[in-house]
């Protein structure tokens, strides 16, 4: 007999399908429809794990997502830590073990798929219990677009866990009728196994759908395992139900202690008896139907211990009928047991202090301290809560414009009330949308006597002398005790948020569902204040643990971030380039030959550019086309130098500054026609500069007749560099007069290159004679191959970004964002020549005159030559004045911004921003490196070809 605690005639599990599973190394069986917890209970297993701190045996307290204790690690088929056994659906071949609070991440990659769906609807209903179903039906019949999400595999919510009847029949009949009708409506979507976990502004609700977890190894590979639903709803109805809360008493954490409503759920949803002989401890009416249904199913109820002085007559009568001993005005003060509860200690509870205790033998202790409405989702998006003293819990203060609660989530705990409240919430939502829904006939509920008020009881004072609450558990997962709460208040903490952080209560996977409100109550009692003034812990998303893999969805691996490649990318790959990430771009970094190190490759590429001819792929340069009668005016206002005087056919280098006068980008501007310019930006800055220009154009100078368009990807750009570049170009551009006089530096010509219409600019980012061949991206490979072929006899060499950086640094051409950091002016870069003195104003000009920008001790760009010509300074290294590192704080003079090995200089060199740098030329400064300092000589920034003799070839 594998499942001795299975009750005949109860539950929704499919007893025709038996599933084998392994828990803590022992084989068991259960049925389709079980959770791991219900299958364990059916086999009589209560002890699931030991607690994280005190290693006390722990069992199964609840039947759902609020479970604080029964954590498991799934070992097979999908390794996954930290799952609550009460929410893991059983499947064939499941292997799990109990966890003491900490799981172990899988060391194997997760091969399952995860994805995300965006959905929109008029009304979103969360929860498919009686309130949620009534709300959904009401909204759906109006023709509204409705989404219903529910965490369980079956609809019905709390109806699954009770024997309450609707229209005189088992409630399942009404539930299946409603769902069948919803299935026929085209604008209604019902999502099962889907838990709403986040509620954000403007009706955005995030939910996690577990699509194939319950299939185990049989899950089809092509279906995503889990899916995040991002639902944007006009109106939201949270019919999220309520969580039962326990009462703190001595040794209230033993296996076999369970919430009364959860035991009822195990009987009615799963057909499982959680014990043979039970004591029921309650403060309210709700435990009576649980006790009666369990008694009728064969559990011996040894006693119902009711903290209230008066027990409602009809409940007492029903108990008497079954021979159940009801003890009014009594409490459970403690328990005995080792692996499992064996005895409840019961005492009269007169003047707030328990009397003499009496032991009652049991293997199950059911507890009900009342119910906390599940308000987490409601309050996440600023829904205010208020304390309802009648139920001892926090409820929504009032509906928001597009968010309301229904049923138990709003503190309405009767079945009839939940049904009516659900329909009413939907009607209000429809009315807010300007829709009218006809009234929906709700099913009749069994007549119930009026509910008697419950007693609000957070903890039973310990009968032991001098007891300090150090055996009374508040947060079972965190092993936090009443004494911990009292220590916090004793230390002067007055806020529930502070106590939460001091004790860690409410910070575990269960978000304090069974401990949060109880904590507020205990603090309020300790401080002698009203719980209403104490408030409760702020509830934040995610309400349930969500795997990172689900959040990531398809955005993993190569889909994590878009990869941008140029039209020449396949050639680079084919020729062995290594790539560097620049923003989202893949740029060739260098092209190592067989056996070459990076240093060797870069030195070889540099040598080719300085002594022969070399070419690179510069297509990633940002390119912005500027058109309109006022194009020149706009550029004059945004660049530090004059652009309106540029002649058609010419090119000018320009710098842009912010209004604070700091350089934000540089590049070249070519005048294409009288009313058209094309400017280039730094690769990583293209989008930002376009936005920057648009901002000024739209917000400050809307009168200017200019249009801006990004053309970055339209043009491929190929710099052709080196003393022999003119010879190579002449071979492929036969119609172009390449003579220096006819085609001077900083001019451009439209001419066919390799038969392709091209725009060739004489621009140099290396100081060498150089051209920049621009062709439509589609034709780039033709032109690139033609250049390679034409340059073959000159030893033409492709080079990457590293060589580009060395060549430009030798000439002190700054990279904005590498040699600058947003605090550097053009003057600091030694580029006063790029700042117009003629223009009356441009963005940044006024700031140059600020006292701060005139200081002589600003950091300026200089060159650094390490004393040992082999020493390569790390970029970012600090610069100090002394060879010994003084005691902190060490006065910093600046830092290294660029540092390379130079083939042309036959040594290492660096660029740096140094305080009063231009006045320190010739000085020796020091760079701390590996616990020592390296002597460096400060130089002019330009270290190669200072006179610029090489640019014309």
């Amino acid at each position: 007999m594998n499942a001795p605690f299975r009750a005949d005639g109860h539950g929704h599990v499919d007893r025709d399908i038996t599933l084998s599973f392994t828990f803590d190394g022992t084989a068991y069986t259960g049925h389709r429809g079980d959770t791991l917890a219900s299958a364990l209970l059916a086999s009589g297993v209560h002890h699931v794990a030991d607690s994280i701190k005190y290693r006390r045996p722990r069992g199964i307290l609840t039947a759902g997502v609020e479970e604080p204790n029964a954590l498991v690690q799934i070992e097979a088929p999908f390794p996954e830590p930290m799952l609550t056994s009460t929410t893991v659906e059983l499947y064939e071949g499941l292997v799990a073990r109990g966890l003491s609070g900490q799981g172990r991440l899988s060391s194997e990659p997760d091969s399952a798929r995860y994805d995300t769906v965006h959905a929109h609807c008029d009304v979103l209903v969360v929860g498919a219990g009686p309130a949620g179903l009534a709300a959904t039906l009401t909204a759906a019949r109006s023709g509204a677009r409705v989404i219903l999400v529910d965490e369980l595999p079956l609809p019905g919510g709390s109806l699954l866990g009770s024997q309450e009847r609707l229209d005189g029949a088992p409630s399942a009949a009404w539930v299946s009728d409603v769902v069948a009708e919803l299935d026929t409506l085209p604008d209604v979507r019902v999502l099962r196994r889907t838990t709403a976990f986040g509620h954000y502004d403007d009706g955005l609700v995030l939910a996690l759908e577990k699509r194939t977890d319950h299939l185990g190894a049989a899950a089809p590979e092509h279906v995503s395992r889990q899916r995040i639903w991002r639902i944007r709803a006009q109106q939201v109805v949270f019919a999220t139900g309520a969580y039962e809360r326990p009462v703190a008493f001595d040794d209230n954490d033993r296996p076999g202690i369970m919430l009364a409503g959860s035991a009822r759920t195990y009987l009615n949803r799963f057909g499982v008896l959680p014990g043979r002989r039970a004591v029921v401890f309650t403060t309210n009416d709700s435990a009576y139907p649980a006790a009666l249904e369990l008694a009728d199913a064969g559990v011996r109820i040894a006693a119902v211990v009711d903290a209230r002085e008066e027990v409602p007559a009809h409940w007492r009568a029903a108990c008497d009928e079954r021979g159940i001993d009801v003890r009014a005005g009594h409490v459970v003060t403690g328990t005995s047991g080792i692996e499992r509860v064996s005895r409840a200690h019961v005492a009269a509870f007169g003047q707030g202090r328990p009397g003499e205790r009496q032991g009652i033998d049991c293997d199950l202790l059911l507890v009900s301290g009342g119910w906390n409405p599940a308000v987490a989702l409601f309050s996440q998006a600023r829904g205010a809560l208020r304390y309802d003293a009648a139920i001892g819990a926090f409820v929504p203060a009032q509906a928001l414009a597009c968010v309301r609660t229904a049923g138990a989530a709003g503190g309405n705990f009767t079945l009839a009330g939940c049904l009516a409240d659900g329909a009413d919430a939907a009607a209000r939502a429809l009315s807010a949308l300007g829709r009218t829904g006809g009234p929906v006939a709700l099913p009749a509920t069994d007549p119930l006597p009026d509910a008697a008020p419950g007693r609000v009881l957070w903890r039973v004072p310990s009968p032991r002398d001098g007891a300090d609450g150090s055996h009374q558990f508040v947060d079972l997962q965190r092993d936090a005790l009443v004494s911990d709460v009292l220590r916090a208040t004793g230390a002067g903490l007055r806020s529930v948020e502070h106590v939460k952080r001091y004790t860690t209560i409410g910070t575990a996977h269960d978000q304090g569902r069974t401990s949060g409100v109880m904590t507020s109550g205990i603090i309020a009692e300790a401080l002698g204040v009203d719980v209403a003034d104490m408030g409760t812990m702020r509830l934040r998303p995610p309400a349930v643990p969500v795997p990172f893999a689900a959040f990531a969805g398809r955005n993993r691996g190569e889909l994590f971030d878009p990869v941008r490649v140029t039209s020449l990318h396949p050639w680079h790959v084919e020729h062995g380039a290594l790539f560097e990430d620049v923003g989202q771009w893949k740029r060739p970094w260098y092209y190592p030959r067989a056996g070459e190190t990076m240093d060797e490759a870069v030195l070889r590429e540099c040598r080719a550019a300085r002594t022969g001819v070399a070419l690179m792929d510069g297509s990633t340069l940002g390119k912005i086309n500027v058109q309109g009668p006022d194009a020149g005016v706009l550029l004059d206002r945004l660049y530090t130098n004059m652009m309106s005087t540029l002649k058609v056919g010419r090119v000018r280098y320009g710098v842009m500054c912010g209004v604070d006068g700091m350089a934000i980008d540089d590049g070249t501007v070519i005048r294409v026609a009288e009313q058209e310019y094309l400017l280039t930006t730094t690769t990583g800055n293209a989008a930002r500069i376009l936005e920057w220009m648009e901002e000024w154009l739209q917000t400050e100078w809307p009168d200017l007749r200019v249009h801006l368009t990004s053309v970055t990807e339209h043009w491929a750009t190929i710099p052709l560099v080196g003393p022999r570049s003119r010879d190579v170009l002449a071979l492929v551009a036969p119609e172009l007069d390449v003579d220096n006089e006819a085609f001077p530096f900083m001019s451009w010509r439209d001419t066919p290159v390799a038969g392709i219409p091209a725009r060739v600019c004489r621009i140099s980012f290396s100081g060498e004679l150089a051209y920049e061949v621009n062709v439509p991206a589609w034709d780039a490979i033709t032109v690139w191959k033609a250049l390679i072929a034409a340059g073959d006899s000159f030893g033409i060499t492709p080079y990457g970004t590293e060589t580009m950086h060395v060549l430009r640094a030798e000439k002190a051409y700054p990279i904005i964002g590498q040699d600058t950091d947003g605090t550097v002016t053009p003057q600091d870069l030694g580029m006063s020549w790029v700042v117009s003195k003629k223009k009356p104003d441009f963005v940044g000009k006024r700031s140059f005159a600020r006292e701060e920008n005139q200081r002589g001790d600003r950091k300026q760009l200089v060159g650094l030559l390490p004393a040992d010509e082999r020493t390569l300074l790390p970029e970012g290294a600090q610069i100090i004045a002394t060879s010994d590192i003084p005691a902190p704080p060490v006065p910093m003079l600046g830092h290294v911004t660029s540092s390379y090995r130079s083939d042309a200089l036959q040594r290492t060199f660096a660029l740096a921003l140094v305080r009063s740098g231009t006045q320190r030329i010739g000085e020796t400064l020091y760079v701390p490196l590996d616990g020592q300092t390296v002597a460096v000589t400060v130089t002019e920034p330009v270290l190669f070809d200072k006179e610029g003799a090489r640019r014309d070839g």
């Binding site: 936005e691 648009e694 739209q698």
Partner: protein, 107 residues
């Protein structure tokens, strides 16, 4: 995640937008008539009110156009979006127009 009503595109998710700081800070008519303190007020200083605040936004991942919004900095609620020089007068909570040194010249 909020929805923001772009005046041209309608409601879109906030990730499509970029924030542009306080609205109605015009570039000074004559920056050289301002002393350093007044110029610094224009460059660096902005209001930081608790409550309604006139701001600039740009629908950067949409139509790429700038607009103004009146937003409550406590609740994050957008009280109005507009393209004119002042917040719509229909809004009872319109803030006092920011007046600071260095700005008079621009008005």
């Amino acid at each position: 995640m909020q929805l923001i009503a772009c005046p041209w595109c309608g409601q879109r998710e906030e990730t499509e937008f970029h924030y542009g700081g306080q609205a109605h800070i015009a570039y000074p008519e004559d920056p050289y008539a301002l002393d350093d303190e007044q110029w610094a007020q224009y460059v660096f200083f902005r209001d930081n009110p608790k409550g309604p605040f006139a701001e600039r936004w740009v629908h950067s991942a949409g139509c790429r156009r700038w607009f103004n919004a009146l937003r409550d900095t406590v609740t994050h609620e957008f009280l109005a979006v507009y393209t004119g020089a002042t917040p719509p007068s229909t809004t009872s909570t319109a803030p006092a127009a920011p007046q600071r040194k260095g700005q008079e010249a621009s008005r």
